[in-house]
C-alpha cells in the first residue's frame, strides 16, 4: 500500500483513475484522485475500460440496449458500441485535461478493452507495485463484493479509493477507522500524507471501531500508546452495538470527514452490505486490505 511507499521514503507512485461504461464519474472521485496524487507526488493515469464482454455480446441477435431512461431500446451493434466507446473516452480525456490544468497535476488517459477487473490488474502490473486505484463511479449498496474482488485480484495496487453516492466533501479531517492495531501505523502514515495536503496538517481523527466494549477499551489503550509521539491525533470511539454497521457509518458521518481511511471487510466497510455507508459517507473512502 501507499503507506509502505511513505515509510520507505519512496515518494513516487501512480494513481489509476478507473472509468468505465457505467453512470457518469463523479467530481468527488476526481478530487480524491488529485488529492492522493498530490499527497504522494504521483501522477494520474485515466483508464477507460471498454468492457470486452459487451463487444462479444453484439454477436447475439437478441442483444438489446435499453436507454438510461427506459424509454427506448435498440439492437446492440458493434458499430454503435465502438462509437459510444470512442465518444465516452474522448469526453473523459477532456475532463481529465481540464482537471490536470486546474490542479497542476500530471495526467494522461488511455483506453483498454478487457474485462473491467482484468484491465485494472494488467495496467497496474505494467507500472510496478505502487498503484492506488480510484474508482470513478460511486459505489452502490451492493458493490462490496466487487470492491473485494478488485482488492483481491489487483495485487499491484496498494489501496483502493472510492466514493459513495453522497460524497461531496473533500475538505475536513482525515478519519482513520481503526479496527486492528497492527494496521494502525501504516494507515496513520497514509492519513498524515493526505492531511498534509489538506486544510490543516494535524487534522486527523482516529476512529476506533469495535463491537466489543472490552476490545474497544484495549484498542484505545493501544492507540494511545502508538500515537503518544508524533502528530497530534484526536481519538474518537465508535461502538457498533450488536455489530450494527449503521451505527459505525453514522459515527463516520458525524466526523464530517474530508477523507476516510478504512480496512475492507471489517465493521466499517463490510463486504456484504454497503447500504449504511452509501447513505452516510460524504467524503472519499480509502480502502486498504
Amino acid at each position: 500500500m501507499i503507506g509502505h511507499v511513505a515509510s520507505a521514503e519512496e515518494a513516487r507512485g501512480r494513481v489509476v483513475l478507473r472509468l468505465g461504461c457505467g453512470t457518469s464519474a463523479v467530481d468527488a472521485a476526481f478530487e480524491a484522485a488529485v488529492r492522493i496524487a498530490k499527497a504522494f507526488d504521483s501522477e494520474i493515469e485515466g483508464l477507460f475500460v471498454e468492457d470486452r464482454q459487451l463487444v462479444e455480446l453484439t454477436a447475439y441477435p437478441f442483444a438489446k440496449e435499453i436507454s438510461l431512461t427506459g424509454r427506448g431500446s435498440r439492437a446492440l451493434s458493434s458499430q454503435d458500441l465502438e462509437q459510444e466507446f470512442r465518444a465516452a473516452f474522448l469526453a473523459m480525456r477532456r475532463r481529465l485535461e481540464a482537471i490536470a490544468k486546474r490542479s497542476e497535476t500530471r495526467m494522461w488517459a488511455r483506453s483498454v478493452r478487457d474485462d473491467p477487473i482484468s484491465a485494472l490488474a494488467r495496467v497496474c502490473a505494467e507500472a510496478g507495485p505502487w498503484n492506488v486505484i480510484v474508482m470513478g463511479e460511486a459505489f452502490g449498496p451492493r458493490d462490496g463484493r466487487v470492491l473485494g474482488e478488485i482488492l483481491a485480484s489487483v495485487r499491484d495496487a496498494t489501496g483502493l479509493c472510492t466514493v459513495g453516492p453522497r460524497s461531496r466533501r473533500t475538505s475536513g479531517p482525515v478519519v482513520v477507522a481503526v479496527e486492528d492495531p497492527d494496521r494502525m501505523v501504516g494507515m496513520m502514515r497514509t492519513a498524515e500524507r493526505l492531511a498534509g495536503h489538506g486544510a490543516r496538517r494535524d487534522n486527523i481523527i482516529a476512529l476506533l471501531v469495535s463491537d466489543n466494549p472490552e476490545h474497544l477499551h484495549w484498542l484505545e489503550g493501544q492507540a494511545r500508546l502508538l500515537l503518544s509521539q508524533g502528530t497530534s491525533v484526536e481519538i474518537q470511539i465508535a461502538h457498533a452495538s450488536y455489530g450494527e454497521p449503521a451505527s459505525i457509518a453514522e459515527a463516520i458521518r458525524r466526523t464530517r470527514a474530508g477523507f476516510v481511511i478504512a480496512q475492507y471487510g471489517g465493521l466499517a466497510v463490510p463486504a456484504e452490505d454497503l447500504r449504511p455507508l452509501a447513505t452516510a459517507l460524504e467524503s472519499p473512502l480509502f480502502l486498504v486490505r
Binding site: 468505465g20 461504461c21 457505467g22 453512470t23 478530487e31 468492457d51 464482454q53 459487451l54 462479444e56 455480446l57 454477436a59 447475439y60 437478441f62 442483444a63 438489446k64 440496449e65 435499453i66 436507454s67 438510461l68 431512461t69 427506459g70 424509454r71 431500446s73 446492440l76 458500441l81 459510444e84 466507446f85 465518444a87 465516452a88 460511486a138 452502490g140 449498496p141 451492493r142 458493490d143 453516492p165 461531496r168 466533501r169 473533500t170 475538505s171 489538506g198 486544510a199 453514522e250 458521518r253 458525524r254 474530508g258 447500504r275 452509501a278 447513505t279 452516510a280
Partner: protein
C-alpha cells in the same frame, strides 16, 4: 440766487464739530441735513454718520453677550414661526433675502429651537418583499427600534446557522431520511443492483453500456460466448431468451418508474425537511415576534421570513466546495453573506436612543438622489443588480417629521430634483425612483420600494428674483410654499440695532475664537455697516462680510502685537481689503493721470461737463468721471443721443435724454418752435451706458452750449432730472464722489473742486474718512441740489434766472442766455420755412 462755491456751509460744519477729527465726531443724525440750505456745500457732519465710541457702554466685546442669528428681522422671524407652526403639508417656507446675510444660520438656529420641543419621528426600515422582490416593504417602527430589529434579524440568522445544520445532522433526521429512502425501495442505483442480482440468479448478466443497459447469458460469472451459446440445446436457448426479455421488460418499467418515485421520494423528503426546519425556525423567531409582532406590518414580514426560512433551510446546510475550504474556518458575517441578504433589515432611518426632538436637516447637495433617496447597484457578472439593502435614504427621509433646509438655486440646478421635491410634497410621500425611469431609458433591474409617508416642513432659501420667478413660472410653487419669510438686506440704524450689531460682532469673535474688539473697533464696524448698506441710516446685515472684517482685523491686530483689536486694525482690514481688489481702479486712475482719458478738473469750458459713473467688479465697486459734451445748432427739432445711435445706450439712459427735450420745450419753447439740433455724447465711452443718473449732467451741458456759458470743470455732477427740472436721487453716490475725489487728489486738490449730488442722496452719504478730512480742510466740496437751477448756478457761477412779471428771465442770467439762443434758432427756422414747419411739430429725438 447764486449757489457758488462758498465755504460757509463747511465752516459751519467744522464749527459744529469743533476741532475733533473725523474719528471722534459725535454721532450725527440725518435730521441735521435739513439745516443746510439747498444748493450749498454740505457740512462735514452730513458726509459721514459716525459713532461716538465713548458713548458705547462696554470696553471690549468680551463684555457683551453674543447674539446668534438675525437682528432686526422680526417680520421674517414671525413668518418663519408661523410657517413652522402650520403642520399642513402645503405651508412650506421660502426664505427670501440676500446671500451672505446669515439667514441660513439664523433660520437653522430658530428651527432647531422649535424642533427640540417636537416629538422624535419614527424609525423606518426597508425589508424584503417575499412575494415581489422588486417592491421592498417599508415598515414604521417606534424611535430607536430600527436598529434593534436589524440586530435581531442578524442574531436570528446567526442562531439558525448553528441550529439548522444541527437539526439536519441529528440521528433522528438521518434515520427518518433513510426510512423514506427505504419506503421507495432505496436509491435507483440500489434498485438496479437488486435487478442485477435477480438476473444473476437466472443466469443472466446485467451489463452497462455507455448509453444504457443490456443483458447477456452468463455462466460461472462470465458472459457466455456466442459460439458456446449456439452449442446449447435450443430449449435452453429459448429459456435464456425468455429470461432476458422478461428482465428487459422489468428493467424498462423500473427505469420509467424512477422519475415518479424520485418525485414522491423528494416530496416526502421535503415534507420532512420542512418539519425539521420549522421546529428550529419557529423557536428562533419566537423572541423576534414577541418584540416586534405588534408593529404594523412587522408581523406579516416575520411570518413571511418564517415561511421562506423553512422552505430554504438548505441555505444553512449547504457545504462549501473544497476550493473554498480556506475560508470555512471563519464563517462570513451573516449580515454580509449573500445567502441571507433577504432576511436582513435596511434601517434607513434609525434614531439613536439618546436622540431627542425633531430633525433639522440641511441638504447641502440637493440632487435628485440625495433628496428622495436612491437604489444603488452592484456589478455582478457584468450586470447591474440591486435589492432592498441597496436603498439609500435621501434628505427627505432624514428630515421626515422635522425640517429640511435647501438652497433653492442649487435645487433648481439639479436635474429632476425640483420636480421630485414637489411630487413628494404634493403626494405627502417619498417614492424612490430612478430619474431615468421617467425617461424610459433604464434597461437594468430596478426597484419600486413602497413609498414612505412624508411629514416634513421644507424651507427653501433664495433671493427675491428667484422667488418671484418661481411664483410667476411655476403654478405649483405658490401652492406648496405658502409662507414667505422676507429678510431685509438692511436694518434701521437705531440705538438698539447698533447695540445688537456690537453683540453680533461679539458672537463672531466667540465663534472664531478671536481677540476681543475695543469699543473704537466696534464703532468703526458699525460705520462700515452703514457704508455697506449705502445709507447712513441703515446697517447692512451682510454677516459674512462683517465676519470677514472682524477676522481680518484680528489678523492685523496680531501683526501689530496687540491683544485687543482696535479701530486702527479695523480700518486697516477695510483698506487692505479694498487694496487687494482695486488693481483695476488703479489702472483706471492712471489713464486719467496720464491724460489718456480726457477729463478736466479745473478751468471752464462751454458744453462740457464731468459726469460720474460706478463700475462694479465683483464685490468691489468704484466711481469714475466721464466727460460729457453737448453741441447745438439750428435744426429741425432733433436731439441726437449718440450713445443710443450706436446702440451703447440702454433704455433708461435714452429715457433720461428724452426727458431733457421735455424740460427744454416746457421751460423755453412755450411760444416758439424748438428749432434745435443737439447732440450729446459720453466721450471715450467704449462700453454700454445705462441708467438715468447722468440726465441732469447732460442737461447742464446742453444748457451751457445753448447759453454759450462755460462750466467749471472742477465740478462733477450726478443726478437724474425730471421734465420739471427737479433733481432726483441716484445710486452709488458715495462711490461717485470718491471716484472724482481720487482723480482730483491725483492731480492735486485745489479747493475749487467738488461734486454736485441730488439733495435726496444726502441721507445716503457715508464717505471715506480721507474724503471727509479733505472737505474739512476746505480742499474739496460736496453740493446738494434739488433743482437744475441750483446746479447750473454752482457750475457757471452765474444766476440761473427766474421769469419776471414780464415773462422774461433777468438779463445776464443763464436761462436768459439759453432762451436767447433758442430764439435765434427759431427765427432762422422761420426764415428757412420748411425747417420751421418741421420744428413746429415739437421736435424729435433720435
Amino acid at each position: 440766487m447764486i449757489f457758488g462755491l462758498g465755504r460757509k456751509g463747511k465752516k459751519d460744519g467744522k464749527a459744529a464739530s469743533g476741532d475733533k477729527t473725523s474719528e471722534d465726531v459725535s454721532e450725527s443724525r440725518s435730521e441735521d441735513i435739513s439745516s443746510q440750505p439747498p444748493g450749498s456745500a454740505l457740512a462735514v457732519t452730513d458726509l459721514r454718520r459716525t459713532v461716538d465710541a465713548d458713548a458705547l457702554k462696554f470696553a471690549t466685546t468680551d463684555d457683551l453677550e453674543p447674539v446668534h442669528g438675525l437682528i432686526g428681522q422680526e417680520r421674517a422671524l414671525k413668518a418663519l414661526r408661523f410657517g413652522a407652526g402650520m403642520r399642513s403639508h402645503d405651508y412650506n417656507i421660502f426664505v427670501l433675502g440676500p446671500d451672505a446675510s446669515g439667514k441660513s444660520a439664523a433660520v437653522r438656529s430658530a428651527l432647531t429651537a422649535l424642533a427640540s420641543e417636537a416629538p422624535r419621528p419614527d424609525d423606518w426600515v426597508y425589508v424584503n418583499n417575499f412575494e415581489h422582490a422588486n417592491a421592498p416593504t417599508a415598515l414604521r417602527l417606534a424611535p430607536g427600534q430600527a436598529q434593534r430589529l436589524e440586530k435581531a434579524m442578524v442574531a436570528l440568522i446567526d442562531e439558525l446557522r448553528a441550529t439548522l445544520p444541527a437539526a439536519f445532522d441529528s440521528e433522528d433526521y438521518q434515520a427518518r431520511a433513510r426510512a423514506i429512502d427505504a419506503e421507495y425501495g432505496g436509491q435507483p442505483e440500489e434498485q438496479l443492483q437488486a435487478l442485477g442480482e435477480r438476473a444473476e440468479q437466472r443466469g443472466i448478466a446485467f451489463l452497462r453500456t455507455p448509453m444504457g443497459f443490456t443483458f447477456a447469458p452468463m455462466l460461472e460469472g462470465k458472459v457466455v460466448k456466442p459460439e458456446a451459446f449456439a452449442a446449447m440445446p435450443p430449449s435452453m436457448q429459448d429459456t435464456v431468451r425468455e429470461n432476458i426479455e422478461a428482465l428487459q421488460k422489468e428493467l424498462t418499467e423500473l427505469l420509467q418508474s424512477f422519475p415518479r418515485a424520485d418525485k414522491e421520494r423528494r416530496q416526502s423528503l421535503s415534507a420532512l425537511n420542512e418539519e425539521v426546519a420549522a421546529n428550529a425556525v419557529k423557536t428562533a423567531l419566537a423572541d423576534v415576534l414577541a418584540a416586534f409582532g405588534e408593529v404594523e406590518g412587522a408581523r406579516d414580514f416575520l411570518k413571511a421570513v418564517e415561511g421562506d426560512l423553512i422552505v430554504n433551510a438548505q441555505l444553512f446546510i449547504g457545504e462549501p466546495t473544497s476550493e473554498q475550504s480556506d475560508f470555512v474556518a471563519q464563517p462570513i458575517d451573516s449580515s454580509r453573506d449573500p445567502r441571507f441578504r433577504r432576511y436582513m433589515v435596511n434601517a434607513i432611518i434609525a434614531q439613536e436612543d439618546k436622540a431627542s426632538g425633531a430633525p433639522v436637516i440641511e441638504a447641502t447637495n440637493p440632487t435628485h438622489g440625495n433628496l428622495i433617496g436612491r437604489s444603488e447597484y452592484l456589478a455582478q457578472m457584468g450586470a447591474l443588480v440591486t435589492d432592498f439593502l441597496l436603498i439609500k435614504p435621501g434628505a427627505l427621509h432624514r428630515a421626515n417629521g422635522g425640517y429640511l433646509l435647501i438652497d433653492a438655486r442649487k435645487l433648481l440646478l439639479s436635474p429632476f430634483a425640483w420636480e421630485a421635491l414637489k411630487r413628494a410634497l404634493s403626494t405627502r410621500s417619498i417614492r424612490i425612483e430612478h430619474p431615468a425611469e421617467n425617461l424610459g431609458v433604464v434597461t437594468t433591474q430596478t426597484l419600486d420600494p413602497q413609498p414612505i409617508p412624508l411629514d416634513v416642513k421644507v424651507v427653501l432659501f433664495g433671493d427675491r428674483e428667484l422667488y418671484y420667478l418661481l411664483s410667476q413660472g411655476d403654478p405649483e410653487f405658490q401652492q406648496l410654499f405658502k409662507v414667505q419669510a422676507d429678510f431685509d438686506d438692511t436694518i434701521a440704524r437705531t440705538e438698539d440695532n447698533a447695540e445688537a450689531y456690537a453683540r453680533l460682532v461679539a458672537a463672531i469673535v466667540g465663534e472664531y475664537k478671536l481677540k476681543p474688539l475695543d469699543k473704537g473697533a466696534v464703532a468703526r464696524i458699525i460705520e462700515e455697516g452703514s457704508r455697506m448698506a449705502g445709507d447712513r441710516d441703515k446697517l447692512s446685515i451682510e454677516v459674512s462680510r462683517i465676519g470677514d472684517i472682524v477676522r481680518e482685523a484680528d489678523y492685523w491686530a496680531a501683526q501689530a502685537e496687540r491683544s485687543v483689536t482696535t479701530r486702527e486694525d479695523v480700518r486697516r482690514a477695510i483698506d487692505e481689503h479694498v487694496q487687494r481688489a482695486d488693481r483695476l481702479r488703479d489702472r483706471d486712475q492712471e489713464t486719467f493721470e496720464r491724460g489718456i482719458i480726457l477729463v478736466d478738473t479745473d478751468g471752464e469750458t462751454v458744453g462740457q461737463i464731468n459726469g460720474l459713473s460706478v463700475l462694479q467688479l465683483g464685490e468691489f465697486s468704484f466711481g469714475r468721471p466721464s466727460r460729457i459734451t453737448a453741441r447745438v445748432r439750428f435744426g429741425p427739432g432733433r436731439m441726437v443721443d449718440i450713445e443710443r445711435e450706436v446702440k451703447l445706450g440702454g433704455p433708461l439712459h435714452s429715457k433720461g435724454v428724452m426727458i431733457l427735450w421735455g424740460y427744454l420745450a416746457g421751460m423755453f419753447a412755450q411760444d416758439r418752435p424748438l428749432a434745435l439740433s443737439a447732440s450729446l455724447v459720453f466721450e471715450q465711452s467704449y462700453g454700454g451706458v445705462e441708467g438715468d443718473s447722468a440726465s441732469s449732467t447732460e442737461l447742464y451741458a446742453l444748457l451751457s452750449a445753448l447759453a454759450d456759458v462755460p462750466i467749471r470743470q472742477g465740478i462733477a455732477v450726478t443726478g437724474s432730472v425730471n421734465q420739471l427740472g427737479e433733481v432726483q436721487a441716484i445710486g452709488g453716490v458715495n462711490e461717485k464722489i470718491e471716484g472724482f475725489f481720487d482723480i482730483c487728489k491725483l492731480r492735486g486738490l485745489t479747493g475749487t473742486q467738488g461734486v454736485i449730488i441730488p439733495a435726496a442722496n444726502v441721507q445716503h452719504l457715508m464717505l471715506r474718512e480721507d474724503v471727509v478730512d479733505a472737505i474739512r480742510e476746505n480742499k474739496f466740496s460736496v453740493f446738494a441740489v434739488s433743482t437744475i437751477a441750483q446746479g447750473i448756478e454752482i457750475l457757471t457761477g452765474r444766476p440761473a434766472g427766474e421769469r419776471g412779471p414780464d415773462g422774461a428771465f433777468p438779463a445776464d442770467s443763464v436761462f436768459a442766455e439759453v432762451e436767447a439762443g433758442l430764439r435765434v434758432f427759431a427765427e432762422r427756422a422761420r426764415a428757412a420755412g420748411a425747417g420751421a414747419n418741421e420744428a413746429g411739430k415739437g421736435g424729435t429725438m433720435t
